[in-house]
């Protein structure tokens, strides 16, 4: 999905923006399958802290990743207001627990810029590019990186 973003021949891409804690993130809309309201996840023993557990998505077992925890923030204390963004990356389908979904935006690809290298932070390894929308910084999530490492840690 991230390839699609960087190699895209069209000059515009559509992003789904959402909020994690105080920060605004976005995802290529092509990788988003659906958005679901909060349901209780069944915790998985011995899983990394950012894995909230699994939920029943129409009969399949869907792992839930707490994006805040994944990005090194405090774990979300989920409530009815939280939502899951069901995303697909390659063969993998995962639910991302976020605070709220904000908007769908069309962004010109040339307005996306690579994030500067900041060695001290761990969370920016999941940020693929940055852009500015209405004076706010939007972090475009590198989904593949976020998911790949999560499953290898989990395994």
């Amino acid at each position: 999905m991230s390839n699609q973003l960087s190699n895209s021949k069209t000059s515009e891409i559509e992003l789904l923006s959402f909020r994690v804690g105080e920060q605004e993130f976005a995802l290529d809309i092509m990788s988003v399958r659906e958005i679901r309201g909060w349901t209780r996840a069944t915790p998985l023993p011995h899983s990394p802290p950012f894995v909230r557990g699994v939920i029943n998505l129409r009969g399949t077992v869907l792992p839930i990743i707490d994006l805040a925890a994944r990005l090194g923030q405090h774990s979300t204390d989920p409530s009815e207001r939280n939502v899951f963004i069901v995303v697909q990356s390659g063969e993998e389908t995962v639910g991302l627990l976020v605070d709220a979904v904000s908007d769908i935006l069309s962004i010109k690809t040339e307005e996306l810029q690579s994030p500067p290298e900041m060695a001290a932070d761990t969370n920016n390894i999941f940020v693929e590019s940055l852009t500015i929308v209405e004076d706010r910084m939007l972090r475009v999530l590198d989904l593949r990186a976020a998911l790949l490492s999560s499953s290898s840690e989990a395994a």
């Binding site: 915790p43 998985l44 011995h46 699994v54």
Partner: protein, 751 residues
Amino acid sequence: MSDPNDPMAEIRVAFFQECEELLEALQDGLTSMEDGSGDSETINVVFRAVHSIKGGAGAFGLDELVQFAHRFETTMDAVRAGELTVDTEALKLFFRAADVLSDIVRASRDALETDQSAILAVCEELIALTGADAEEDEIDPAEFQATGLTLDLDLPDLDALDDIAVDLPPLTSADSLFGEDTIAREPSKYTIRFKPTSELYATGNEPLYLFRTLREIGVVKIDINTQCLPELSKLEPENSYLEWQLKIETEENENQIREVFDFVSDICDLEIKSNGMDAEVSCLPDILPNEAATDQVVSSSEVSNAIATPAQTENLAPSADQTVENASDNAAEIPLEVSPKPAQTPPATKPRATVRVDLERVDRLVNLVGELVINQAMLSQSVAQIGLPSNTPVFTGLDELQQLTRDIQDSVMMIRAQPVKSLFQRMARIVREASADVGKTVRLKTDGDATEVDKTVIERLADPLTHMIRNAVDHGLEDSKTRLANGKPETGEITLSARHRSGRVLIEISDDGAGIDRKKVLKKAQEKELVTKDGQLTDSEIDNLLFLPGFSTADKISNLSGRGVGMDVVRSSIQALGGRVSINSTPGKGTTFSISLPLTLAVLDGMVTQVAGQTLVVPLNTIEETLTIGKSDLNTLGPQTSVLKVRNGFVPLLDLGTELGYRKPKPDYVDSIVLLIAHEDGSRAALVVDEINDQRQVVIKGLQESYGRVPGIAAATILGDGQIALILDPVDIVAGASGRTKLSTETALAG
């Protein structure tokens, strides 16, 4: 695996499936020949199995398979013809040939390398048996030329290409397309005299059709000779009286013309003469001038139906009419139109219909039925919550729905079920190979081959069963000398049986060997510190020591069993299938391993429990009993560990909540509920749960695919409330826990 849009790829897949069935029939046939239960048809079955594999292999250009199958078939043909008597040695060879054949089939299927030396060795022995037969030794390459896998029928005339191939190096089809155009011949003229015998008509051949085919290769003039036609009163309808003279002008050569008459060459008088470019007339001595022929035909036109020759029925009569009429027109070209035949419809019903279905579709159906079961449970739960009186029609309806759902589930599971026969046949081969390796004579008896089990269960049972069979040959059975000394028949016997028993499948592997040498086993276990020196073990507990990791009774590791796989691995693979294995051994009489398995892997009988607020399903087959901890049963072992006294033994106590990381150990476990988990090795563990809800069948949902492996968890399931519950893997839990506490299974010598 195969391109769904390529019908040939699909047929190829089906071919290999059919091969498996044929190989099975081959094994069966050989087995009946071996125990003398076969009749004359048995050898035919064996022959046909090999023959059909060869036939299909030829179609797919699987040369190696064709070659070997041909060799094997030739030998079987000799047996069939009574030229070869089958003795024990020959049968052994046939079994080996069947093994090699199945190896080549699988190698061809999966594009693997084959063991050339093994193939060659069997081939040579087969040749030695039948006697070298120069004609049979080499397969005519033309006969088994791969015909190419394309079924595109729009190619140019392939018959024409055959001729070209004579004077040109072998062509690829692309070359051929080109080649045909470049090699155009000058047209030449031929005169053909053609007189059918009555047999030509009796075999369903029709001169008119031959002439039409001729017309496709050139311009044809046809004259008929009715000289031999007798008077109507003397006419025998089954006899052939007509003769034709045909003149053809064609760019093709004589062979091409002969090919048209290929099917009838032995049932007609055929003369083909080249007239050269300017041959105007060709007077064949024994036919009348054209005029005469015409006259006679016209005069006898009213009997045209009668002379329409032997095999003609009303159905074909019109075309015979036409022949005559055309002939009377002296040099008329054959019309292309054929009078339409009555429309025919294939019969509506065909016996023994089966459908081959992609396994993926079946799995989808299994999954959907799983959903249905869950949904039905959810619905029942919601209805129950409304608090309607129990005699309302809603409940009756729900009960019926539940019954229907179960029935559908059972039926769907049956689709995946397969007889264990194929598995047992693989074991027959293992017995043959293993016994040859250790120089024992062993016979395998099978029972209940038709017992059906889930396909996946069968597949995953192959490895543990192989190991157990090898063990039985290697360790279970004595060598011939010992057997004879003990008054047993020289040939050892291993029995493999399968049967259904109370919703499960019971598979037993028995040998008539010496039985387990318990003294030796115990000594070994003590040496390896698997058990304490002073422990009093029952016979059955000693037998079960075989399943302990790292146990091997053979003094020297033999070629067979010493492959780094112990009975502990066998046990865990069987447990992974939701099964359990047990031993029963009688000294001097033999040993029986019993494997009890679920009928399907899609559902599981589980005990639904609560642990630290989470719902956990524990597979029922691992639970020996449930207990409530009494004060006097609980004993502290180390600073962090406890053991539970169960009757006269001690069992490590594990808090599931703690083991799964849900909570810290509870301050007190008195009055807690424990599940006593039994290992087949006789060791046990007691798992603390907070509450037991009920026992029920749950649909298994894989966790591995969507998330990855979770320690201590086997899979997930969806409960009636739509929530996901995890299914415990007790073996894994205990294995993971034993490292942390100092409790290990060897101290648990419970009675």
